[in-house]
Structures are given as C-alpha cells and as structure tokens.
Amino acid sequence: MLRYLGRRALYMAATLLAISLVVFVIINLPPGDYVTALQSRYAAQGQGLTVQDIENLRVRYGLDGNLLQQYWHWFTQIVLHGDLGMSFEHEKPVSQVIAPRLGWTIAVSLITLLVTWALAFPIGVYSAVKQHSVGDYAATTVGFLGLATPNFLIALVFIYFSVTWFGSVPSGLCSPEWCDASWNLGKLLDLLGHLWIPMIVIGTGGVAGLVRIIRNNLLDELRRPYVTAARARGVPEGPLLRRYPLRVALNPFVSTIGWILPLLLVGDIVVGQILSLPTLGPILLGSLKSQDMYLAGSIIMVLSVVTVIGTLISDLLLGWLDPRIRLGHQR
C-alpha cells in the first residue's frame, strides 16, 4: 500500500509539473508582459512609473531572461514563497484575490459532489436492479434531459421562475442582511436556503452522468458468473446484491471524483457568473476578459491542483476498495 501511495504521489507531482508548464505558456501568450501592461495603464492614467520601480518589478517577476528562466523564476516563487504574482485588474497580490473565494469554491463543489452521490447512487442502483421498470424509464428519461441541458440554461430557467413567482433573483450565497454577520444558526439556514440553487444547477449534469454509469456498470456486473455462482450457493438476494455486484460497481463510482470535480469546478464558472456566487468562477472569467494573466494562470493552476488532489484521493480509495489495484504490482 505504501508503494502504491508513493507511486500515485509521484504521478501527481509529474502531472502538476506538466500543468504548470502549460499554465505558464498561457500566461505568456499575450504580447508584452505584466510590467509593460502596468506601465501603459499608469501612462493612460497620466502617471508614470520611475525607472527604479520598473526595474524592481522586473526583478521581482524575473522578467529579464529567456522563457525557461522566467518559468523557473515563476515556479520557484510559487513553490518556495507562495507568491503567485500580482493581479493587474485587482491591483492586489493574486493570492489575496483567490484566497477568500477558494474556500467557497471548494465548499460548493464538495457539497454538490456529496449531494450528487447521494442522489445518483440509489437511483442508479434502482434502475439497474429494476431494469425496464417504469421507475427505470423515468430515471433514464430525466437523466438524459439532465445530461442534455447545459447548466447555464438551468440557471437561467431558475432565475426566470424565481423572478416571475417570487419577484426576486436568487443570487450569491447569502442574503444581504446576513452576509457580513458572524456565523450563527440564522446565517447557516440562510446559506442553506441559497445553496440549493447552485447545487441543483451545477449538480444535475453530474447526477445524470453518474446514474448512467452506475446503472450500466451494475447491469454488466449482474450478469457475471460470480452472481449466478453466489446465488447457487444460497446467498440471499439482498446481501448478494450488496456484497457482490455492488462492490464491483462501486469502483467507477469512486473514480468519478477525478473527473466530476473538474466538471463541478468548470460548471461553477458559468453558473457562478449567472448566480453571482462568491466563488472562483466569476473572477476567472473576469481575468480572462481583461487579460489579467497572472490571476487567470493562478486560478487555473489552483483548480488543477484541486483536481489532481481529487484524483489522488479517488486513486487511494480505489486501492483500498479493490485488491486487484492494490496488489496488482506484486503478483
């Protein structure tokens, strides 16, 4: 198990290194660099930067040197000093822009993930065990609708109905009167009152996809010889389902953390914009529009780290669940 863990951690580091390269290239794609952009902006406002200021900034960001040296500088700044650079648009260090929103992003994503699982698992199991039943067809139909409808459309539909029925737009994660309050029961209830909307909007696609996956996997597993064999030795149907095919069908379910987490994070970008959530999505969109490349690159980097960690967690869970994966290399 330790070797397995070490191997996964090594893969994870390599993946992150590759992502960081791509992100850095993206940051450097627009013509000019951060300092020239800053210069022109100050010039436009009628202020000038002194030669000394410019020089300091150029040294701080390692802007003199070839692309590889710049990458190395950027990379070591992040790893050794936790310095993600300056946000040009917000005029603050990137880390200060991201930090307060990162918590919300992860919170919304995790809660959505949990709700997605809680909904998808029983529905998927039901429609596999009762294949061709009315419930199965209903779940399948709703599932296809959920898969086919883009999240932002669902968000817009929600806004439309809440305006026509309640006269207000559900936005943000808290009501104005609670936003600045310290944490108490009232604020928590208020949060829950707001949270279900983004949860449904972001989660529908995930639920639909997961239901399909569980249903198909379980249907495959239900036809395996080991199910017949277990039935032939008198294992009652309930334990038979739980101990045999469900155990195997759980694998792809666990490995979904890897792909559903980025899906939720990306879903959050558009939906966060529409529902004005205090998450990373809206500022990523803003930074891309205003070519605030340090901010954009950092957000992409942070989301990548979260995703890779999610994948690592799912790999570890898989290894724990499935002895074939855990023991695969030591036969």
Binding site: R223, R224, P225, Y226, T228, A229, A230, R231, A232, R233, G234, V235, P236, E237, R243, Y244, R247, V248, L321, D322, P323, R324, L327, R331
Partner: protein
C-alpha cells in the same frame, strides 16, 4: 439395478426457453432425467444442446430472459418430496436447497468467484448461511475444507484473492464452497473445461474421492467423452434440448443405440487407430434451435435416417430395460432393431 434405487432428483418434461430478438428459443424441450443417491449421472452433448440450461433450471438459476415453461423437478431429499419449480423464488426453502442440499460448481472457476473478496470470505459466508457456525468456528472449518480439497497451506491461502490463485486452485476453492454444507447432490457444469489437461485430471480425481467420502450424487455436465468414461455410472446423451439416449456407462460405450451416440463415439480419436486418416466427424452443424428440423431433429445429419419417416414424425422413446432408452425409429417398442 436402478429400479431398486430411489431417485434423489427427478426431472420430468422440463421445458426451458429464452426470449430473443428472433423469437422464443426452446433450449430445453422436454427433458426427463433421474439422479440416484450416491451415483454419478453424466450429461453429454455438443455446445448448445441444453445441458447447462437443464442444470441451471434445477436450482432455478436461469437468467431473466429465460423461463421454465413446463415440467417438474422433484427433490427426494430427506423428508417429503417436493417440486422445486413450485417453490417461492425468494423463499427460504429454495435458498436452503441452493448450497445446502445441492452444491454447484461452474465452468469458469476464476469468474465464478468475486475478485474483490478473499476465497475465505466467500467460503465462510456460505458456511455461515447453511450451518449457523459463528465466525471463528466457520473460519476453522473453512481451513479444514480448503485442506480437504487439496489447497496447500490453507491457513495462508484462505486470505488469498481469487486472482492470486491459478484456475485449478480456484476450482478447488469452488468445490470447497459447494461441499461446505454436505449436500447430497453436486451439480458440476463443465467444471474442467477451462482447465489444462493435468489440472483437469487432478480435479476429476478430487471429485471422485470426495464423492466416495461424502456418499453424494453427482450430476456431471460435460462434452468430453473421456471424462464420461472415467466418472459416470449413468449417461444421458442430449441433442438439441432432448435426451436422445440413456444408458449405464459400460453399455453406452460397448453398444450405443442412437445414431447420434454412435457418431459421437466414432469421432473420439483413438491412439494408434487414427494415424494417417481423417477423424470421422458428424456432417453438418447443430441446427439453430429456432428452426428445428421437422420430425427427429437429428435426421438431417443422421447416416441411418429413413426418408419419409424420420423427417416427418418425432420418434418416441424406446425402453430397452435396465435404464436404457433411445429416441429413435430404428428400434421397435420392444427394443429390437426394427
């Protein structure tokens, strides 16, 4: 001799069919079989002749697309005989029958065990269902059972996963599971087909020893006539969902009655005899059960078919006495060659 023995399991008029896109496939089309206590019945036939479906019908293991349409399967275990087909499919009696009264082993031992649980876990689970032993006693018993089926180092192997064991070892574990509740009948559905020849011989030896030790009946499904010669007391030859010939094993090999059995035996290679010539084969292929030939379903491939007779009426079963029957028009009702 068979008349003095009481049958343990009696299948009569069994019909099992499957719904497919092309129509209803009658996989088992009126099968009568008896298994006697302590004896071995071998069911032989080509792929698709319905032998496995017959075996699965006994424990009601036919998958959802299939259904048992007619017939009865009477279990004469201890106590009142009853028809297995009339049991509640989710009831306790059927559950006790499966694994308790009747053990079953399958063709692909590795696929018949869940790869995610150790063989010990799957064995102990079955033990506890049928014997009510507590966890520790069941584990101790499981080690004994693994030892009895010839798994070396059972104390360690009990915690092995199926994918860590060879096919032969998995089949041994399956046998241990099937026999853990001392069943009076073991159904073996081609248990050695997926194994290599040496392993196959060892598994057959093991089955024979265990049968003698437990005094249980065995219903052995196979397409291998060599296995039949080695194991069987009685043989039933199946063709296209029907039993075409039934005989004690010596008589079957010495004096096959049905042309299909004759052709089958002729196609077994004999060392020395067959050098330099082609192995005799049965012409044609097994017909699609959706389009069963009229009359005797074997007549298009039969060397002795009588035109105007075999292709029109289904032959009736001829009883030769002594447990011998054949479904063929070549014999009159007294069993003499017509």
């Amino acid at each position: 001799m068979e008349q003095t023995l009481k049958p343990l399991l009696e299948i009569s008029g069994l019909r099992t069919s499957f719904d497919t896109f092309d129509g209803k496939v009658r996989a088992v089309d009126g099968v009568d079989l008896e298994v006697y206590a302590g004896r071995t019945l071998c069911v032989v036939g080509e792929s698709g002749c319905g032998k496995s479906v017959t075996a699965r019908s006994i424990l009601r293991l036919v998958e959802d697309s299939g259904s048992i349409d007619a017939g009865s399967i009477t279990w004469h275990g201890d106590g009142e005989p009853f028809d297995i087909l009339s049991l509640d499919p989710r009831g306790k009696r059927l559950q006790r029958l499966r694994g308790g009264d009747i053990g079953m082993i399958f063709q692909e031992p590795a696929a018949s065990l869940l790869p995610l649980r150790t063989i010990g876990a799957q064995l102990i689970e079955t033990l506890r269902i049928h014997t009510g032993l507590d966890k520790r006693a069941a584990r101790a018993r499981a080690v004994e059972l693994l030892d009895a089926v010839g798994i070396p180092d059972p104390k360690r192997r009990i915690d092995a996963y199926p994918f860590q064991l060879s096919g032969g070892m998995c089949q041994r574990a399956m046998i241990a599971i099937a026999l853990c509740a001392n069943p009076s009948l073991l159904i073996a559905d081609e248990p050695t087909t997926a194994l290599d020849v040496t392993t196959q011989a060892r598994i057959l030896d093991l089955l024979r020893d265990l049968q003698a030790e437990h005094r249980m009946a065995v219903m052995f499904i196979t397409h291998d006539l060599g296995v039949v010669a080695e194991l069987a007391d009685e043989v039933a030859v199946m063709y296209l969902g029907r039993v075409v010939e039934r005989a004690p094993v010596d008589e079957l090999f010495a004096d096959p009655k049905h042309p299909y059995t004759k052709a089958l035996l002729a196609s077994v290679p004999v060392l020395g005899r067959d050098r330099g010539r082609d192995l005799p084969t049965i012409p044609g292929t097994v017909p699609n059960p959706l389009h069963r030939p009229s009359g005797c379903s074997f007549h298009p491939r039969c060397a002795e078919a009588v035109a105007g007779k075999c292709d029109i009426d289904a032959p009736t079963e001829v009883d030769f006495g002594g447990g011998r029957t054949a479904e063929c028009v070549l014999y009159d009702t007294e069993g003499a060659r017509a």
